[in-house]
Subunit: 205 residues, 4 copies
DNA sequence: CATGAATGAGCCTTCATTCAT
DNA sequence: CATGAATGAAGGCTCATTCAT
């Protein structure tokens, strides 16, 4: 039953990802992983320190890929307008989540509230995203493209929109196309929901 | 130690809320609750079926209060403009979370990814919120106040913004005033982020 | 099956002592103790931290009783000659070991070479005994009762004699009376093995 | 990596000895040995039946060398007085232990209380030593060199003295010379600790 | 109602040993 | 002979829940 080390490791990771996605961290037993992988219990421990370690590895790997999908937006890129760069970022993230529903599920569900250490890790990641967004907002304001406003709160709002969309993509089988999702979100971000009439009504408040 | 049954029940709930908020569902032990409440192990089970039941009770109670805080927006209310009704809804929700940080923490952290049953319950709640928002969007569109657009996605976006803001309020000590938060969110929702210049640039894409 | 707390604790200690004496530390399983005590596995952990803790408790308790059995020898006690005090000390120790064969077995066997921490504890105890003996030798020399000589080595020799005798008492069913044992040892300690003739032969070497 | 079979076997034994001495039998893992020896796990089992077997082999080997170091004392050897023969025996044993601290450590620590089978083996060895001593005592008494007395107990006492000295040599870095140790022990064995005055006081008891 | 001692299913992890290559 | 991946029995410990008092 010997198998190339990397292959076996990858196999265990795949199986474990499925198990964690289905049952969550606590309800997933090493036995679930081991049985599905068709290996002995001890074999698991040849490849991963312990249950926590493999979980962390899975989450870290996905966060890494997520990080790779998010490119910093360059205002003066002659090849792509900032708005297109943003759109591409969003599409990449959406595609990543859609293509890795189990990993996404783990990130959005199983990894939440696991313990203080893990919470810190996730918060740190979201902080980095927020920082990126704030920088973009700052530059956008300077360039006269973005209306001035509370940048931190706005950044959280944008993060929130995206997270919720991803959550919906993962948990339901949203039939909406990725383009539709991203474009609707971008439209809301850029122009808001109101018509001229609605806007006037609100402003006159 | 004599204590009215309802009083004792309430006390246990308070203690359990604190424990669940601090440690999360799995790391919270019945012992933690029982010791802090100053009661015997067995006594706990005179008031609650089991660990899961008290947790569910706590979450349900908070969801109920959350539900109460969210009023359906009436377009033709002569006393309050729709936008003000929305603003009040948001302020009530924000206030509720801020005033019940432990419950909020539980809802946003400990209750996430607990198991399939619980996930369903939370999804059902968010679905209700989404439905409410979609109705508001539909009516707003009909009244010419809202630009037409994918209502489901927009509803998720709005839910997401709010959830993220609440998350930040609960996990960090955001010093921003509730008004500031809500107004920034409303401003984004209503008008979007872009200036005329920015909007034109995006449209010309 | 509830039982007075101290009673139950004592019962578990008794059973555990027997198990450790029979099987040694490593071969003793918590299950052995628990089954023999007629309790559930979890019950064990209500009374003792873990396997190591109960073992340490047992050894510490015996070392304490051993310590109590060893009285410092007073040279000017009018009621008892030093040699009688020593004899009484030895008899008490022998009696203690004989009456607690299992504890003795644990101390002389199971507790040896368990790990560095435990070794340190045992060495510390034997060091204390050695210190006591060295003090006695020093005073005996000063009083002209003891021939001058390397006190540390002599102290180890005396400790060694005693340990070996105790070892034999515990591991075999030595039928020799305690008095016989102690007196033979004291005779050897005091006068040595040689006759005048033998002594002369050795000195002339 | 080519290595003569005996050479490799010897190398594994050396490494295993070090590991057992450092960690004791139970805490020593086959892995520790294998890694230090720079061989594969399976290779170990080509040379030794199992963990227990190699340990036993190590102990047996040392017991054998110990046995060789102990020569039967001949009363009528014209070349060496009995007392000198005894002294030489002791010096050889002390030298053997001092030169093989790891093996000594194993014999005095790791091999103690391992299990009933092993205990029997060690007891058998000490019994042989005791038998030797008893024979010497018997002959000594017959020759008028040794005062009559309980030979078994005396034999245990002598064994005990020696064991404790060896224990001290191994566990601490006793700076005392081997001669000093052995001569002090012999002096005690032969003449006892007491002066004439002390002896008289004891006898008058 | 209250108590808290007792229960025991459940799960993670270790490590000596095997065996296909 | 050598390798080292794989095995799986074994055992310590936790903690929600029960129940006799």
């Amino acid at each position: 039953m010997a198998m190339d080390r990397e292959q076996r490791r990858a196999q265990i990771l795949t199986v474990a990802t499925a198990v964690f996605a289905e049952k969550g961290y606590h309800d997933a037993r090493i036995d679930d992983i081991v049985v599905r992988a068709g290996i002995a219990r001890g074999t698991f421990y040849l490849y991963f320190e312990d249950k926590r370690a493999i979980f962390e590895h899975i989450v870290d790997g996905f966060l890494q890929r997520l990080d790779d999908a998010i490119r910093v937006i360059e205002l003066d890129d002659p090849k792509a307008k900032p708005s297109d760069q943003l759109r591409d970022d969003l599409l990449r993230v959406v595609a990543l989540f859609a293509a890795n529903a189990q990993l996404a599920q783990i990130l959005l569900s199983a990894a939440v509230g696991l313990d203080a250490d893990f919470d810190r890790k996730l918060l740190a990641f979201y902080d980095a995203v927020t920082a990126l967004l704030m920088r973009a907002l700052t530059e956008g304001e300077a360039a006269g493209l973005i209306r001035p406003g509370n940048r931190a709160v706005r950044a959280y709002c944008v993060t929130g929109m995206l997270k919720e969309l991803l959550y919906q993509i993962v948990l339901r089988k949203t039939d909406a196309s990725h383009d539709e999702l991203v474009d609707t979100m971008l439209d809301l971000m850029a122009f808001g929901l109101f018509t001229e009439v609605g806007a006037r009504a609100l402003r006159d408040a």
